[in-house]
């Protein structure tokens, strides 16, 4: 199978939330590929469907209301959509693990941090409980927490420290793929840098492939090899990091770069994208970006554009690049 060269390959992933008010089309025909040891930045505004995509990869989209409608997710060449729940349990926390957005709420308040790390080790590795506790303390050391804090509870730690514990849980079983969902959004700026540095080092130490979900292009510049820009549930532009930063093509990506404040520019030169991201319960026809796009043509509202490869493995989902 050709897919087996990639760590992860997602084809045509579509995820809906069926609510009383209507169907939320959170992820729409999403395509993405991640090579072994590669890190990819998944960038997009709040509500673009980033978290839903991540939960989809673990098959943890809350159901109800969420449902994977269509698509294939090849992990190491095997389609996990077809896998049973017991098979998925062997993958979660082991081959693929996830760091969640809010460290203040993602740890169990009634368990010591050591027990929470040991839990994932015991689930996936055969060893006596005492050994797992020892390994949990080693993991704490790796993320910079002294073992004398091992028996403390989450409420005794700051946000940054808690996120380190979450990272220790995620990396405890040396996953091949790590999904980090805005791991630093909830942290203070100074702590953000520390946590990012830690993740970068550990990722290299464990040789993990990574999906870094963020809306911060600075983080992408620092950590990622590739970038996928997400808009209204699908990837609209995908390229190597340098290529994308130097040569953004999709009108949405260009708009995104123009709306970043920069020390060199003053605020007046910012050009925010006009309008708002569409409500995923009520997506426009055709290209979902066309109502906000300066370069929109009549046909943009008629057909959802395909992804066009413009060379250098740079893919743009915009009709302007259909040559």
């Amino acid at each position: 199978m050709t897919e087996s060269n990639n760590m992860l390959e997602i084809k045509g992933l579509t995820i809906h939330y069926v609510t009383d008010d209507g169907v939320v089309r959170a992820v729409n025909d999403l395509n993405i590929a991640i090579g072994r040891g590669e890190s990819i930045g998944l960038v997009g505004e709040t509500g673009a469907g980033k978290t839903t995509t991540a939960l989809g990869i673990l098959k943890l989209v809350p159901n109800p209301p969420g449902k994977i409608i269509d698509g294939e997710i090849f992990l190491d060449g095997e389609d996990i959509i077809k896998k049973s729940e017991p098979e998925m349990r062997k993958i979660r926390g082991n081959k693929v693990s996830m760091i969640f957005q809010d460290p203040m709420t993602s740890l169990n308040p009634v368990m010591t941090v050591r027990d929470q790390i040991a839990e994932v080790i015991l689930l996936h590795e055969k060893m006596p409980a005492a050994k797992a506790l020892e390994k949990a303390e080693e993991m704490l050391m790796k993320v910079g927490i002294m073992p004398d804090r091992a028996k403390d509870y989450p409420h005794q730690f700051s946000g940054g420290m808690r996120q380190r514990v979450v990272i220790a849980i995620a990396l405890a079983c040396s996953p091949e793929l790590l999904i980090a969902d805005e791991p630093t959004t909830a942290l203070d700026v100074t702590i953000q840098a520390q946590v990012l540095e830690l993740m970068k080092n550990l990722k290299e130490e464990f040789n993990t492939s990574m999906i870094m979900i963020t809306h911060d292009l600075g983080i992408v510049a620092e950590i990622c090899d590739k970038v996928a820009v997400m808009y209204a549930g699908s990837v609209v532009e995908y390229a190597d990091k340098l290529e994308l930063f130097k040569n953004p093509k999709h009108p949405y990506t260009i708009g995104l770069f123009n709306s970043i404040p920069d020390i060199g520019n003053d605020v007046e030169s910012l050009k925010p994208i006009k309008g708002l991201m569409p409500d995923p319960m009520n997506l426009p026809t055709g290209c979902p970006f066309h109502p906000r796009c300066d370069k929109a043509k009549p046909e943009c509202s008629e057909k959802i554009p395909a992804g066009y490869d413009i060379g250098n493995n740079h893919i743009v989902k915009c009709i302007l690049f259909n040559q």
Binding site: I91, G93, N94, M98, S106, L107, V110, M111, E119, H124
Partner: protein, 308 residues
């Protein structure tokens, strides 16, 4: 933690004095002369007056109250008006049955209510959940005495499976314990359900699933340990209802507990028995709630660090 427990035990003293004061005031202001009721309306006035003197009924309220508290501190609760036997002794022979009944009711409400609530929550809006909701509402609304009588009619009179009264053999325990426990079981079930629904949506539950943990462990360990925290507090109050309910249940099933004893004593205005009984009920309620608070700290490390 030890310091906290000691502090709580010391706090029992003012609580019990306060309870005594209230019940003492109530029996003081209730009309009717105990001496007359004991000797009968036709007894000679001198005999009644002599008895009033002996029981100190003509002393000022405050003196009687202080005398009672001082005696109670030495575990002397006075004599019953009716039999002239020590109240302490009379209560101690009856208290175990009441306590056993209340504890059995507590076990029924907790051991059935919590699992049923958890299952309801994990299968929200399923047939099971809807049936549990309906039966829960029914059990909460049915008065104890009516449920007790219906159970007797059905299981004792019609089917002849269980004895209709008494509390000596295990077969005799079943109907009273269920009569007492079902209402609170429904309360505990509803509370466990809503607490569980709240917890199951939390991020740390998602974290547990993302570790590859089995759903059963996610629910019965990760979620339940958190969901129990508010439920445990409610269970302490539940025990108060059960002690109160025991009074009625003992009457229905002719159980020789302090509830029934107190009801009889209220009819004959036997004040020392009423005071002593209330004191015992208040003491057991306080002790159970202290136990609940300790359990609470054990369940929630965030509380534990506050107990100093």
């Amino acid at each position: 933690m030890h310091k906290y427990i000691l502090k709580r035990l010391l706090m029992l003293i003012p609580v019990l004095i306060g309870v005594t004061f209230i019940i003492f005031t109530l029996s003081y202001i209730t009309p009717g002369c105990p001496a007359t009721m004991t000797l009968g309306e036709t007894a000679p006035a001198e005999a009644i007056e002599a008895l009033r003197q002996e029981w100190g009924l003509d002393d000022p309220f405050i003196i009687r109250f202080v005398r009672y508290v001082a005696d109670a501190a030495r575990l002397n609760l006075g004599e019953t008006y009716a039999t002239r036997r020590p109240v302490m002794e009379e209560i101690l022979t009856r208290f175990p049955a009441t306590l056993q009944l209340a504890v059995m009711g507590l076990f029924i409400s907790v051991l059935l209510g919590i699992p049923l609530g958890v299952i309801s929550a994990t299968k929200q809006y399923s047939l099971f959940d809807n049936l549990a909701t309906i039966f829960g509402l029914i059990f909460v609304s049915i008065p104890n005495f009516w449920l007790g009588m219906m159970l007797v009619v059905f299981f004792s009179v019609n089917l002849g499976w269980l004895p209709p009264s008494g509390f000596e053999t295990p077969a005799q325990w079943i109907l009273p314990a269920f009569t007492l426990g079902t209402g609170q079981m429904a309360v505990v079930m509803r509370m466990s359900r809503s607490s569980m629904l709240e917890v199951i949506r939390q991020d740390y539950i998602r974290t547990a699933r993302a570790k590859g943990q089995k759903e059963s462990v996610v629910v019965w360990n990760h979620a339940l340990r958190n969901a129990l925290i508010p439920v445990v507090t409610a269970v302490g109050l539940t025990f108060g209802f059960l002690l109160g309910g025991a009074v009625l249940t003992e009457t229905i099933f002719s159980i020789n507990g302090i509830g029934r004893f107190m009801v009889q004593s209220i009819n004959s205005r036997d004040n020392p028995v009423i005071n002593g009984g209330v004191l015992f009920l208040a003491l057991s309620f306080s002790v159970v709630n202290l136990g609940v608070d300790i359990l609470y700290a054990y369940l929630d490390p965030r509380i534990k660090s506050q107990y100093k």
